[in-house]
Amino acid sequence: MIVYGVALLSLCLIAGMLAGETLGVFMGVQANVGGVGIAMLLLVFASNTDRFKTLTEGAAGTGIQFWSAMYIPIVVAMAARQNVAAAADGGLLALVAGVAAVVVSFALVPVLSRIGKNTDAAGGEN
């Protein structure tokens, strides 16, 4: 049943969001801390565990794959509802701050990816 996969996906998201909100309260932060990330971990766990096979294989699996495939269209809709006009209206300060943050962060991607690999290699040698 396709809906089994959809239900599993939904339960993962709800459980992740609850955990994220709880973490936020626990840390004294007005935000959901990693709710979606936790939900993703739950789904990865479920799809790698034999016990959940009936919920992730066959027709049930296509229920999850459908939403995975709808991801890009949903992101396009998300782009179409952003407050682009406000970003353009923010003036020079907002523009410079936003652009500078992105440029510096882009530049750090290869640096940090390398650090990850170096510690990995060092760990392997030890």
């Binding site: 979606v36 509802r81 701050a97």
Partner: protein, 252 residues
């Protein structure tokens, strides 16, 4: 006219599916015919979406882009946080534990590095533009983290409304630039494997920007980037009004 409006508004989510489907078809058509596949169809679709959002914003004066047009209201639901998170989680289906473990440490480091670096850059720009009070500098720095961290921090430490608005604008600029810029720089920053995607998500942090940027680069990388990005805003909201504010207060 009345009949069309009634049907469109009453079935607004369905209208959104049809409208987005049309945009995707046009985008992939142009990507294949005009650029011979060099530019990803989804990159064109996202750019069209942003253009439409700008047009919607200046035409209606609203804050939700094209979805402020009554006939396209369903795009607000389809592209809202609920559906976005649902679809992001679905992309994790089929991800292997081993890949996550490999980049776990680098991913975690990148979240903290990303928040602090963006904050410092944003705060420096605020100082450059002549701000001298710690609350304003901190809030604008927090806005460069994400457009959620900015107002959360600003409200917590009592920044002025004008500064909070600026911080949101800075965060929006960041998010939009990540959407457009990621596919363009992906090759030169080595963004072609799960590990660098996790680092990328942690450094950029804007969930919308990372989600769209990776989708337009290589959809296979989406779950890895999204996984770390979703922790970023929480860490930002944690550090912004506390440690980072204290440090800024100590300096200014």
């Amino acid at each position: 006219m009345d009949i069309i409006e009634t049907v469109f508004v009453r079935n607004n989510l369905i209208v959104a599916f049809a409208a987005i489907g049309l945009v995707m078809w046009v985008s992939y058509f142009f990507a294949n015919k005009l650029t011979a596949g060099r530019i990803h169809g989804s990159a064109i679709a996202i750019a069209l979406g942003l253009l439409a959002a700008y047009w919607g914003g200046i035409t209606t004066g609203g804050t939700r882009g094209v979805s402020d047009f009554a006939l396209l209201g369903g795009i607000g639901l389809m592209g809202g946080g609920m559906m976005r998170d649902f679809a992001i989680v679905a992309t994790a289906f089929g991800v292997k534990f081993s890949e996550l473990k490999k980049a776990g440490l680098a991913g975690a480091v990148s979240i903290f590095a990303g928040v602090i670096v963006s904050f410092v850059v944003g705060a420096a720009v605020a100082v450059m533009f002549g701000y001298t009070d710690p609350a304003s500098i901190t809030t604008i720095g927090a806005g460069a983290v994400t457009y959620i961290v900015g107002p959360v921090t600003g409200e917590a430490i009592g920044a002025s409304d004008a500064v909070i608005t600026l911080s949101v604008a800075a965060g929006l600029v960041k998010s939009i630039l990540v959407m457009i810029g990621t596919p363009l720089v992906a090759k030169s920053i080595g963004l072609d494997n799960p590990q660098s995607a996790m680092v990328f998500g942690g450094l950029m942090g804007t969930t919308s920007g990372v989600a769209a940027g990776l989708a337009a680069t290589d959809p296979k990388l989406v779950p890895y980037g999204a996984m770390t990005a979703t922790f970023y805003t929480g860490v930002g909201c944690l550090l912004g009004p506390s440690v980072l504010y204290f440090i800024v207060s100590a300096i200014f």
